[in-house]
Symmetry: C2
Subunit: 338 residues, 2 copies
Amino acid sequence: MSHVTLSVDQVRDLAARCLAGNGCDDANAAAVADTITRAEADGCASHGLFRLPGYVASLRSGKVNGAARPRVEAIAPAVLRVDGDGGYAPLAHERSREPIAAMARESGVAAVALVNTHHFAALWAEVEPLAEMGLVAMAMTAYKPAMAPFGAREPLFGTNPMAFGFPRGGGAPPMVFDQASAAMARGEVMIAARDGHDLPPGVGLDRDGKPSTDPNAVLEGVMLPFGGYKGSAIAMMVELLCAGLIGERFSFEAAQADNNDGGPPRGGEFILAMDPDRFGDASWHDHAETFFARYAALDGARLPGARRHAKRAKLARSGVRVPADLHDRIQALCAGPA
Amino acid sequence: MSHVTLSVDQVRDLAARCLAGNGCDDANAAAVADTITRAEADGCASHGLFRLPGYVASLRSGKVNGAARPRVEAIAPAVLRVDGDGGYAPLAHERSREPIAAMARESGVAAVALVNTHHFAALWAEVEPLAEMGLVAMAMTAYKPAMAPFGAREPLFGTNPMAFGFPRGGGAPPMVFDQASAAMARGEVMIAARDGHDLPPGVGLDRDGKPSTDPNAVLEGVMLPFGGYKGSAIAMMVELLCAGLIGERFSFEAAQADNNDGGPPRGGEFILAMDPDRFGDASWHDHAETFFARYAALDGARLPGARRHAKRAKLARSGVRVPADLHDRIQALCAGPA
């Protein structure tokens, strides 16, 4: 497969130009392009330029409002409601970041109900900036049904990712993890099918609802949550917080309402930000570092996010390799609908 | 094995008498006895009378303050600090429940830092009452190291349970799950060893740090988190919230400080309570019920907590079966230290 090498700035320009050519105003194009660029810059190609055709499809179909003006409102002393105005999540995140931090510093905690938005990005990119501001942060979002609850054979949960960030001392980047509730990403199952490898047990069921380690059978069947009934409970919690609590669509409702244009359905996101300076331990930073030091000293243990941060440093020098056919496709999309 | 059948009231009387005979004042004895009784009443024997000898040991060693007077203080508009005064967690929970609910109703969210306490109970018993008050609730606690982080071979995390509760409509008991971050409870590994069964892969390592499905080898080695690196991340999040954020001991610190008398070490608990009426969707109750209805309609899916609630109804009629040797041992402990 041939590749094109782009600098991080070139990724950003290409993404912004393509979005602007398909109905995004400048503010939305810049915010989405930044999210795409940060994914590419950290080596997360699956949330980078690869997503642009989906963004473009949902602009062209009219499902998503490319000129959205997100509104941020404190609806309780520690609850922020962010209405995405039918647009993509990145501008809503950009506009709500400072209000979230201010509320967390004032109240100790800020819970965010992000509604009326279309989410198509990685959650770490939303949690990391809050953790860089010194806050402990959690984020979750639901999607269209892809997984059966433990014990069942039909999809009800989205892949339902959850991210968590904790600030570090000494200039270290924050500890951030971001993980789907699925046992394995669908893309990994597709790669196993391509390469003729078996799956580990517990990844999915075939179309008759029987457990299978054959990737082709699982692709025709249904995925399962990670870790059996415990991961299933986490996936359910994500549904209840991102839909039940904040008043947005459950995964099954998102699927019913979506136009299947390849872009993200409408959905909600639940975010929690907490200011450790308001929790009563003035030495929390040093204390947490004793834990991180113990963790780092364990042979074989890898701190979540460490690999991503190492890639960031490398890719800033080397540039980002983009498959040539994707690059061609995006160039063609830049001209806008025919 | 011979058994004694006790009514739920008899369980409560026996537990309270045994605790009072070993240095608990009436308020603490009643609160701990209630926690033990609720576990027995729901068929959770492992958190019932089975724990009494451990409670008694920690009273006799002087590690735990049997006359603790928990103090509840709002240290930020949405943060409640509960100081357990060196006692057991149940009285601190009892005394903080109304203030937590009041803060969640006022601010939308209440984050609770429970410190200076000894936790030896099931988390569902703490989350369920908050959910019965109409709140969405989450709770986590750490313990002494029992699990290696994913990739490592030495213990750093406690079994680090996490519980979550969501209120139901129509008089149904709330949906509550409560799960350790370990792949399997240590007691289940012991039962597999006794019965000569292999473990599923991923439960633990032998003493050389090699993955093993031999329960005896894992009992000599170290347990692993559920679901590989994803459960490991959840276990780390529990450490960071219950120790790093709120200023209590990490699992490794709890082990260093504990006197190993068989009772619970000092530790912290992180609780989050949210009032869905403050999140902007007046019809959240009906909306959530559409999700629960979908879930219930899936063949093979079981709602977390449903089995426990069914047992509760059954045991209220039949009484609770207690192993005769445990019953004898508790009777002997009631007389207090020799």
